[in-house]
Symmetry: C2
Subunit: 265 residues, 2 copies
């Protein structure tokens, strides 16, 4: 059967994949993987190949984006191709084009979901899913943009939390740090003065979500900007209005100072 | 070691769990599971017990919420307890209290993430993650509320998509259907007349996300309200402004009519 199965690798390491994701890999005629849209700190390709008993072909950004994933489409025209992607396959929008191309070529596509950073961050922090507004990515300083600040402003107007994903170049091991992201938001604040990201604003930094030892730290921005989160990858949450259970969660799970209780509404 | 590991079961069936989730279950001294916060249509407890080689104790809403999960805390005081939860463990906020209680009792807690409905719906639809606003749950008609409509209004004002989770009573096999949810939104529209959920509004219904055969159907509300989505569970998306790639995705993956192209901005 001609088909292309997109499989989520989940988070952090080669054991983040689901049992059915691994099974689909075992029964595929060809197996591809990309490792550039996210960073999985403890992932070993060699261990993964042992788990699935197959050779895995790692594809580059160039092969996927400039050459439109032709090598994957060609494999799927000949049989069952599996394409493994960090997290849940289409949370990075990169691969949607490949899926549309496949369907246009009459190749059936399916998705095996994996744990994604967007649900992991919510789970780890104890903040409530239905209180998050729009998500935003904070770019590297060389691509400076006021958009992340404006998204925080817009979300906070409705009392909503903002999940900030921090830009990365996984292949080059280059990561925007939580400290840098905060500094960029403070800079925009100084110009716009809307009072949404000040030294006294509450925030939550998260490193290595999905690993055995994630680092979570909730504190006021003035303290968080100096905090050492250890190894990447990184995320940042700017909470909106907090329910008292959310404040309690940040105190219990993220070492927030007791003053967070007085922020709850 | 005294610890309580919250493990996500992922979606649909017993093979949605990650390899590390299964490993943690195998090394636990006691294993608990709840199956009421979400519905996993193809889940077999018996098959799961074979996979992990252990007896699993299924806990009820009463034991968890009224009796504060005392039986799980007691087990975690004696050794390593694993608690398996559909999806990603804390996307339903139900279990946050148990985690806080455990930490207060000096029991170390960890989370093994699983695929969640919130990322699966985004992946399946091809809509862009960073264009979703606040998520909302549509309640059963007997708990009628204007909140879902108001959330759609607020999100659309900023061009954002709304993910509507539809209420369910998993134990009683009672599910709010996509058709019912649309009817409720149309009723509020008739009163409020903001023009955000009319017969000519685009929407996307999704059934059985994470299963081998999910049903996705994008269409105008007047058609979707009669569409047969088959078996539960169900979700509904009310898209805001669509990028042309998002319209193409809905045409390719969700059978949207070609007119969706003209909706893209």
């Amino acid at each position: 059967m001609n088909e292309l199965v997109f499989i989520g690798l989940g988070l952090n390491d080669e054991k983040g994949v689901s049992l059915k994701g691994l099974e689909e890999t075992k029964t595929a005629d060809s197996v591809f993987m990309e490792l550039y849209t996210s960073f999985m700190p403890d992932f070993s390709l060699q261990h993964f190949e042992i788990l699935c008993g197959k050779k895995v072909q790692v594809v580059s950004r160039r092969e996927l984006e400039e050459e439109n994933g032709t090598l994957i489409l060609e494999a799927a025209k000949k049989g069952k191709a599996a394409f493994l992607i960090p997290g849940d396959p289409f949370i990075a929008t990169t691969h949607v084009t490949l899926r549309i191309e496949a369907e246009k070529h009459g190749i059936k596509t399916r998705i095996i979901h994996g744990a994604s950073i967007i649900s992991a961050i919510i789970s780890l922090s104890g903040l409530h899913n239905y209180k998050f507004g729009k998500t935003v990515t904070v770019p590297f300083p060389e691509n400076f943009s006021e958009t992340p600040y404006n998204v925080v402003v817009q979300n906070k107007k409705f009392g909503l939390h903002t999940l900030c994903l921090l830009d990365l170049k996984a292949n080059e091991k280059h990561f925007l740090s939580i400290n840098q992201a905060i500094v960029m938001l403070l800079e925009v604040e100084q110009k716009n003065k809307k009072g949404v990201v000040t030294p006294d604003t509450a925030a939550v930094g998260i490193a290595r979500a999905g690993s055995y030892y994630p680092t979570l730290k909730a504190d006021f921005v003035k303290n968080l900007v100096h905090y050492d989160f250890g190894e990447p990858p990184y995320s940042l949450i700017l909470p909106g209005d907090m329910h008292f259970m959310e404040a309690e969660s940040l105190i219990a799970f993220a070492g927030a100072p007791a003053e967070f209780r007085s922020l709850a509404k």
